[in-house]
Amino acid sequence: MESLKVNALRRYLLEQDLMFLAGQPAVYHCHHFNLFLDQTIDDALGTEESFRLRMSAAREFSGHLLSAVCEHAGARTPPERLQLAAQLFKLMGHGSLDFDADLSGGTAHGSHLHYGFAWLEKYGKQVRRRHPADGFAAGFAAAALEIAFELSPGSLRGVEHECVALRAPQCRIQLDGESSPDPAGAVIGERESENVVGPPEDGLFEDSIHPIVLGLKEFTAGVQGDERGLVQAFGVFVTMHLCGYYNRISYDAVQTIETRAPQSVGVLEDLLRESGHVCVFNTFGGILLSPEWEGLVGAPTNEPAKILAWCIAIGRALGMGHWTIAEFEPERRLVVRTSSSYESVYYRTRHGLASRPVEYLFQGAALAMAQLVHRVDWESKPQLTADYYKRLFKGGVPWRAEQTKSIVRGDALSEVVVTKVSG
């Protein structure tokens, strides 16, 4: 059995800046985004139903991933496959899993699991958590067992009984038979993605964006989990994550709320957009302020066009799609387009056309980039703290973002127009 290297499994769809890990749509996101999105689903559905959805989404897409990786590595026996699963989980930056299980189930012991560990680091001093954090790890562990023992997809479930976020010394996930397996959803891989994306186009500042994207992709090729399974880069905990997980928990939660409490759909959608603010503020901001960025590109200055071009380059390199700048008038107007996004690929493949634009991350990211470009004094090297986030995004944001074109509504590309409204 071959030793795994994430880079050998990673591919980008040509000119679309969508990333795949062993054929599964994947993207880099930091712990701030991950925790915020999970919390959003908790708030929408309640913690129990949310955990179940998160576990189920992780199980589904991890199953596809592990199946492909086992094939790639030539892992045939259950021990080989479980070892490979644990290795992959670490390399993706999700922590360490140790299996004590057979084909009927068992236990997965987790240490430094990304969600629980990062939650404790971020909130542990201020908040007492009452429910376990590692829905993703629970689903991944269930999928690992299913693949190892060639069980039907969705036949096992993972329930986290002990979690470091609840002050347990380690995480413990119980794996046993699933009483109500989910129906199989449409497969989403490279071919399906190619069917959804539009023709790639260039935008403003391509001459500076393009080489940065190439350099960042080369740099991130070497980014993978340490011996504990955590990735520290750019001052954040980074994960290589499955887009299917993000998409399914988001869109399934919206569907559930549309049925159960339609008056609350707008609130949930706003929170999903805010996940884009959280991502851009923390991850993009963290990257721009890191010594890695200073070495690769240069220290950030207070030049709006430059910061905007850099943000677009970061979005592309992380695998969020072929973002381009269609128009930019500093302090007035920004138009961001993309011929591809992991949200639209999922939505079109799973749900078909939508009645309204639902690329929440893209919408939120466009607005957040306008705010970062104009309102952050980069030369002062600010601390990107929770307080600073609140000041930037909660105190009357002077921008309005409107999605004017949408791949999920049948347009060839998606477009968000951000205009100044006050201030």
Binding site: K122, G235, N282, E294, G295, L296
Partner: protein, 129 residues
């Protein structure tokens, strides 16, 4: 965030750039350490900039005291100690960042960073000698 005084005077050390850009309340003692940007609380500390020629010599000097290079690109060097602290070096600009091990308890992170900084200061002196 301000820490106690330190016997080392970073501003007077050979090889260190003028400290004007670091004269803010976040500066820790006289080591030139400044809390850096990071989502991890108190783990990442910026040092006063050193001359690029000195940063070029630093990786070798750190290797001599037990650090191993975890370099992802020659544009950003990152020697890591077996005890997991690391020193991120940007040769082009003279930027140096100290990263304490992330398992260090919150209350001990600043001290851990300062210990690395002292070692770092001594190496800079030696590199300039």
């Amino acid at each position: 965030m301000k820490a106690g005084a330190c016997s080392d005077d970073f501003a007077e050390r050979p090889g260190c750039a003028a400290g004007a850009e670091h004269a803010d309340p976040m500066t820790v003692g006289a080591l030139g350490l400044q809390l850096g940007h990071s989502c991890h609380r108190m783990l990442v500390w910026e040092c006063a900039r050193v001359q690029p020629a000195v940063t070029l010599a630093l990786p070798d000097a750190l290797r001599d005291v037990g650090y191993c290079e975890h370099c992802r690109t020659p544009l950003v060097r990152e020697p890591v100690h077996p005890r997991e602290q690391s020193v991120v070096i940007v040769p082009r600009t003279g930027g140096v960042q100290i990263r304490a091990p992330f398992l260090t308890p919150l209350a001990a992170r600043e001290a851990a960073a300062r210990e690395v900084a002292r070692e770092h200061c001594a190496l800079i002196r030696r590199a300039r000698a």
